[in-house]
Amino acid sequence: MKKLINKPEDVVTEALQGIAAAHPDLVRVHTNPNFLVRADAPVQGKAALVSGGGSGHEPMHGGFVGMGMLDAACPGEVFTSPTPDQMLEATKAVNGGAGVVHIVKNYTGDVMNFDMAAEMARGEGIEVESVLVDDDVAVQDSLYTAGRRGVGTTVLMEKIAGAAAEERRALKEVAEIARHVNSNGRSMGMALTSCTVPAAGKPTFEIGDDEMEIGIGIHGEPGRQRMKLKPVHEIVEMMAVAVVEDIPYAKGDEVLAFVNGMGGTPLIELYVVYNEVNKFLEGRGVKITRNLIGSYITSLEMAGFSITLLKLDDELTKLWDAPVKTPALRWGV
């Protein structure tokens, strides 16, 4: 295992210390239980946004805490949902009297832990709205599974709902907008390599030098299908077809295209991917009016990428464009 770390069990804590040292103007870090809040939390009268999940997806979620996005993030151990007491303490720390939205990626662990936290927070008199992200088209939706995973759309939801909350919209409205983002967003991912959970010490899966995994999640889980490596235009086509035909996105639609690196993929390749995504959508008459290109929701050092498309309307576009000031996303300010 080759990692820039000290001891595997200290990675999450030390990375948090790094964030605390790096961005005191933007975030405050609380340990034991671990969570981050924006520097000016709680913001009175504003619906607060709390997200969280396993670590190893950086900058998500800690890098998205700040003005115009999240009020708090709860980092779990690597690839392990945080615990209810982290979520509860974070919820209490950011509640400005207008209630709290929990943004929950649809994984059994995340859902159950957030459920317990929401119950406890309600028990303490805090209004909580839970919003689920389940945008991964690689998972065949079915009543008989845990449902689709929450992946790339999470980032877009946190930005857009964060902007709505910043405008002082009411809790229910912020939650509604977040759900609207979820219903308009679809993603799919792939991997060239596996990743290594620090405490596990070896790659989660083995993969040949000429193979790739299609339909991967963000936890080094194997995907739906393994196949021979292909030129990227074929890979993009395969993934983009699955994404666009799911809603489906139609001729004339405007979308935000999010090309996301998995952590070990360099930017030059993401631009090559974006070029293919752009050509593919042009071919279908779908217009990219906003984009995001970079490694924002990652799986440790995994090489690979995901494509997320979000169907835009005027309101979503306006909220996307609104100022944001976090460690990882910043514009307009």
């Binding site: 151990e77 007491d85 059994t108 662990g109 832990n113 959970v197 080094g220 889980e221």
Partner: protein
């Protein structure tokens, strides 16, 4: 025969040790169809529970289980945390105030624990989860006791049923938890959670059945 309080403590200690010894094994199982953390998670949780044991006032088995459960909830995370946490908390509720554990108490604890687990996780038998080890283990224990078996014997039959349930997860296609994302590819692998649940039941048998052949 009833299990005295300190033997219940011993059961918790041994389970922590067993989990620690099987940390890599459980994690490897989770690599194949999950995210390579089940052993790490359970070990972190049981180590934390172990550290709490000395502070628990003696003599109330229910309180002991609840403390373990709450510690798991607040230290494990993932699916394992709420599930094992709920299991132990519900077991604790079932035997609240008891200074020792009778065979009927244990049967009741497993029943309430399983109910809590199912309420939390909504898994049914055959979904390739912990439930596939716990359900037959609980059933076997009850059946043995109804047939008049000794507590020791009932514990051994319960552990054997858990083992069979665990192995039975191998051919299954997962319908709950992370492994369900794999669809058909989840078949052919043993479920990590069912495996740790078998270890729990085996630890109970190993710790308590000895003096009661």
């Amino acid at each position: 025969m009833s299990v005295p309080y300190d033997q219940v403590v011993q059961f918790v200690r041994t389970f922590a040790k067993v989990v620690s010894e099987n940390r890599e094994y459980l994690t490897d199982l989770d690599s194949a169809i999950g995210d390579a953390d089940h052993g790490i998670n359970m070990d972190r949780g049981m180590s934390a529970a172990l550290a709490k044991l000395d502070g628990v006032p003696e003599g109330d088995v229910g309180n002991l289980f609840k403390t373990v459960g709450m510690t798991l909830v607040s230290t494990v995370g993932g699916a394992g945390g709420p599930l094992y946490g709920t299991l132990f908390i519900q077991m604790g509720m079932a035997v609240a105030g008891k200074p020792e554990l009778s065979s009927q108490d244990w049967a009741e604890a497993l029943t309430k624990g399983l109910e809590g687990l199912v309420m939390r996780g909504k898994a049914e038998p055959g979904d390739k989860t912990m439930v596939d080890a716990l359900t037959p283990a609980r059933d076997a224990l009850k059946e043995a006791l109804e047939e008049g078996a000794s507590f020791g014997d009932a514990l051994r039959r319960s552990a054997a049923a858990a083992e069979e349930g665990m192995k039975g997860t191998i051919p299954l296609v997962a319908r709950k938890g992370r492994a369900s994302y794999l669809g058909e590819r989840s078949a052919g692998h043993q479920d990590p959670g069912a495996t740790s649940t078998y270890l729990l039941l085996k630890t109970a048998a190993d710790t308590w059945a000895d003096g009661d052949p």
